[in-house]
Subunit: 215 residues, 2 copies
DNA sequence: GTTGCCAATTTTGCTGACAATTTTCCGGAT
DNA sequence: ATCCGGAAAATTGTCAGCAAAATTGGCAAC
């Protein structure tokens, strides 16, 4: 099944399942029967079990005593909460990024800014979405905050479905592009307070959009 | 061993081990040999294994392939990062708490304020420390943000050792009491911005103290 | 005294089988 | 037709044992 010939370890299974859930291959509320997964991935049930335990701690899977596991279904209210937490954390990262930005960081961010502008002009939603994500990742990387970075990543995994839905909304780029440009400007100007506030405003607007679109 | 006669489940073992680590019973870098733990708790090695996996995702335990698990040792730099993340998250909670505070919440917080003032006057460090923690918990509860709450709790578990060390520093209450009173005032006045900022300032000062005390 | 190597021991990673629990399904009574 | 009880099936929870990897200790060579 996996082409390597050898059986999969618990860690590898956790990665595979995480990817399957985040990518939407496994849909919310879908039951995750240990025996079935073991057969599908050609792994032992024991390893499937520990993988599910780990994903449950990560918040991607919900387990009930003696009743098995299922893909956790995140409600709109929870998605809003998650985005608000992300707003607080990424604002922190933006602040640190503004403080620590090197010249090469700045040129890279500005390059991203022009590429995003072009993508919106061309109506290339795919490119814009990639740039969008790249900006967030770059700023998180610049902040060099490992704790914040891993927490944000975990939360993003939980709410990815809503992010995705939002990105496909017409007119959304027109709202978020100037926000992203403001973030980039503040970070490049080493203005920590403005960077944090711009990031917070941006993600709060995402939270509002989630509230509105699924109410 | 546990008095119930029955063997312990994986979930119970995770709780026991978590408590043992957070309470300091198991010290940082201490090796966690699966067989030994199984014997000590009267559990099977398989369940110990699952518990260690979960605690590893929580960040309390460090696992290396084929080399076992040990209690994660949090460096000063990490403790500072963790506290900065807490600052961002608890500031969010303080903001929400200020928006949602009911009359009974307010009287409860003001009661805590007077008790903390009394404790400092009497030099009763124990009472002050309890009140301190109660304020943070109350505000988190008032915010009704489940995502933020669980994230904060997980982070606190990782950095509890440093919090503890700090609380025992002479003169620390004199610094933190006015900060706590400012937080309580802002929340009770329904001033969301001020509450968030007061909380952020408070925990940033904790971060500074950690930086200074262990540099 | 130090270094390098090899066997013995320890410890982890994994699997299959067994026990306990929950769910499903079916026959009968109302 | 509906509801109830109980056996059968499905599924989860647990355990003990085996294989693989790492660590340890001893022994010889330099």
């Amino acid at each position: 099944m996996d082409g390597t010939g050898r059986t999969l370890t618990a860690a590898e299974l956790a990665d595979l399942l995480r990817t399957a859930i985040v990518s939407g291959e496994l849909v919310p509320n879908q039951r995750l029967v240990e025996g079935d997964l073991a057969a599908e991935y050609g792994a032992s049930r024991g390893n499937i079990r520990v993988a599910l335990s780990e994903l449950s701690v990560e918040g991607l899977v919900e387990r009930v005593q003696n009743r098995g596991a299922r893909v956790r279904s995140v409600s709109v209210e929870e998605a809003v909460e998650i985005t608000e937490v992300r707003a607080a954390l990424e604002a922190l990262c933006a602040r640190k990024a503004a403080e620590r930005a090197t010249d090469s960081d700045i040129t890279e961010l500005q390059d991203l800014a022009t590429r995003m502008k072009d993508a919106v002009d061309r109506g290339d939603r795919e490119s814009y979405s990639e740039g969008n994500q790249a900006v967030h990742e770059k700023i998180i990387a610049m902040s060099a905050q490992k704790t914040a970075a891993s927490t944000i990543q975990r939360l993003r995994g939980q709410a990815v479905r809503f992010q995705f839905r939002l990105a496909r909304q017409p007119g959304r780029p027109a709202v978020s592009l100037p926000q992203h440009l403001a973030i980039i400007d503040a970070v490049c100007a080493h203005d920590a307070d403005a960077a944090a506030e711009a990031m917070r405003v941006h993600l709060e607007s995402v939270a509002d959009a989630i509230r509105a679109s699924n109410k």
